[in-house]
């Protein structure tokens, strides 16, 4: 009762400056409506947005409402190319007041370039530029240095030792799908491992979590054997599918570890909570374990339970490191240069924030 009386006493003020315009940077089918709320907004119990199609004379249609003060609404039920007019009604219980109808028609359309993402495009083009520059530089010769990565140096040793013990090698690609980059990076390491294994005539076992990854892994192992000149040793049954259940997969792999007793276990790819189940079981059977993942939350467990761990980016550098392909090594150099640029950028950004200059951080906030 009280708000009603008050609103009559003070008379509800309409919202001001109602504007309707095509929503920028979208694929069409959307108009944004904005307005300003008068001072006495404490009485507002409901805001309603009305739309008229074609002309201001058309019958108004309720297209959205809010139960709390808001100043923006996106109407996603419009069709491209048709002019629309809007007004906004505010209510205080049963009392209401309408705003003026927008004067200029709002017509939605799709954009061909997202201005909002311009900073992303700039960063991407610059980064690709660095990478391509060093790829071309590598093409014209000039060897590139890459620091030692212990986990990768250990691969050959692990395969060798496993063979000496007469045991198979177990390669686990994790729970990633093929659409995850860590899985693709892991396949590159798998290729190297299977090539080495073929040279030593050792068996590689690859149980898979995802059928597409299984297919890709089959092709990869086959290629690895072919490169070693031993396609005769490859058989499709080495790379097989288990199940797409996280812990069902862990249970199955644990079983394989206990019964086939691999001498070397590779855990490379995307891992979640099952990482430690696999790594601890692998440790309990006395295998050499080389792990690697980009999942930051699982890295501590790999560090604790396995012999060597590729931390994050080291895993991505692995394929270049192992293949010694100059073009791939070129991109590593490009990455390093980009890192230096980012470090400078971070320090500069922090310094600017300290001095109260915000345009750099605003530029990055545009995404």
């Amino acid at each position: 009762m009280v708000p009603l009386l008050l609103s009559i006493l003070f008379s509800l003020e309409p919202v001001r400056n109602v504007r309707a315009f095509d929503t920028p940077d979208d694929g069409g089918g959307s108009i944004t409506v904005t307005w300003e709320i008068p001072e006495s907004d404490t009485f507002i119990t409901r805001i309603e947005i009305f739309r008229m199609e074609g002309s201001t004379e058309a019958a108004p249609e309720l297209v959205g409402y809010f139960l709390r003060p808001q100043t923006q609404f996106m109407d996603n039920t419009v069709e491209d190319g048709i002019p629309y007019y809007y007004f906004v009604r505010i209510r205080s219980d049963s009392v209401y007041v309408d705003s003026k109808i927008t004067t200029t028609p709002a017509i939605s359309k799709a954009q061909w370039f997202s201005g909002r993402r311009l900073p992303a495009l700039i960063i991407l083009v610059l980064y690709f530029g660095f990478l391509m520059f060093y790829i071309f530089k590598a093409k014209t010769g000039g060897s590139l240095f890459i620091r030692k990565i212990a986990g990768l140096e250990a691969i050959d040793e692990a395969v060798g030792r496993s063979t000496e013990m007469g045991r198979p090698i177990l390669y686990i690609l994790g729970l990633g799908y093929i659409s995850d980059i860590p899985t693709v990076a892991s396949l590159a390491i798998l290729k190297r491992v299977s090539k080495k294994a073929a040279e030593y005539e050792a068996e590689v076992i690859v149980p898979c979590f995802d059928p597409i990854v299984m297919v890709a892994a089959q092709e990869t192992v086959k290629e690895g054997y072919l490169e070693a000149g031993r396609p005769d040793l490859y058989n499709e049954g080495q790379v097989f599918y288990l199940t797409s259940d996280q812990f069902g997969y862990a249970a199955g792999v644990d079983g394989i570890m206990l019964r086939q007793r691999p001498g070397a276990v590779f855990l490379q790819g995307l891992f979640y909570a099952e990482s430690l189940i696999l790594a601890e079981t692998g440790h309990s059977i006395g295998a050499i374990q080389i792990s690697g993942t980009t999942a930051v939350t699982q890295l501590p467990f790999f560090i604790a339970a396995t012999d060597y761990t590729l931390i994050g980016e080291e895993m991505y550098a692995a394929s270049a490191y192992l293949s010694k392909d100059p073009l791939a090594l070129g991109t590593i150099k490009g990455e390093d240069i980009a890192k230096m640029v980012l470090v400078v950028l971070i320090l500069m950004g922090a310094l600017m924030e300290t001095l109260g200059i915000h345009w750099l951080s605003n530029f990055f906030a545009l995404f």
């Binding site: 900073p119 992303a120 960063i123 991407l124 590139l144 240095f145 890459i146 620091r147 990565i149 093929i178 659409s179 995850d180 980059i181 899985t183 693709v184 597409i212 297919v215 890709a216 092709e219 599918y241 288990l242 199940t243 797409s244 259940d245 069902g248 997969y249 249970a251 199955g252 644990d254 079983g255 206990l258 019964r259 930051v296 939350t297 890295l299 501590p300 467990f301 560090i303 931390i311 080291e314 550098a317 590593i332 150099k333 390093d336 890192k339 980012l342 470090v343 950028l345 971070i346 320090l347 950004g349 922090a350 310094l351 600017m352 924030e353 300290t354 750099l360 951080s361 990055f364 995404f367």
Partner: protein
């Protein structure tokens, strides 16, 4: 009565899996094989009911025009994948793999750029001096910010590959590895509680629901 039966089934599988901790044994082997087999079937059903059926069959039923007919592409890629059953043309499956790997690369660029690179860099633009409620409060907040910025930078240097980690680079990257180690310890310690919760859940089931002891 049926609920008692099913409680016993659940308890049997729980104990069978736990027996693995002592050593490999027939109970674990049995539970493991049942788990792998039934969960594989479970995911086939799930994939069908929640993904393939609505996306493909539903798509062909309800979509119109180009959106409907474009579904021929994934259907064709699926057929290519299945050529693996026919040895002489099984190499055609590589076309389908090529699509999925290309997708990985595309999503890799856009996802990492938008989701990781830019937000993480931006979040590190922290002022070195924060005015606080008191001198010590301000000091505390400022030191925290400085630590975050320097820790991030040092960690980035640890991943510098194209030069030997000696001299100044060596010093900074060693600082980086120190941060990494503290982080891993903390992250490990943080997770213990959640894992123990899971075990408590299982033990509570055995003691309370099955044995009615507590």
């Amino acid at each position: 009565m049926t609920s008692v039966f099913w409680t016993w089934v659940a308890a049997f599988f729980t104990l069978s899996i736990l027996s693995f901790l002592y050593k490999d044994n027939p109970f674990y082997k049995f539970a493991e094989h049942i788990y792998v087999g039934s969960s594989a079937a479970f995911y086939v059903l799930q994939l069908w009911v929640f993904d393939v059926y609505p996306k493909l069959v539903g798509g062909f039923q309800y979509k119109v025009g180009i959106e409907k007919w474009i579904l021929i592409i994934p259907a064709f890629l699926s057929v290519l994948m299945l050529t693996r059953f026919i040895k002489p043309i099984s190499w055609l499956s590589r076309w389908a793999i090529a699509f999925t790997v290309g997708m990985a690369a595309g999503l890799g660029v856009t996802g990492l750029l938008q989701g990781f690179l830019v937000p993480q860099v931006k979040a590190t633009f922290l002022p070195f001096y924060v005015p606080g409620t008191s001198f010590w409060n301000s000091f505390y907040l400022s030191v925290n910010n400085i630590l975050i910025v320097l820790g991030t930078v040092a960690t980035i240097f640890y991943f510098y590959f194209s030069r030997e980690h000696k001299g100044a680079l060596g010093t900074i990257s060693r600082a980086g590895i120190t941060f990494i180690m503290i982080a891993f310890g903390a992250s490990f310690g943080y997770t213990v509680m959640a894992r123990v919760s899971l075990l408590i859940g299982r033990m509570y089931f055995l003691i309370h629901d099955w044995l009615h002891l507590a």
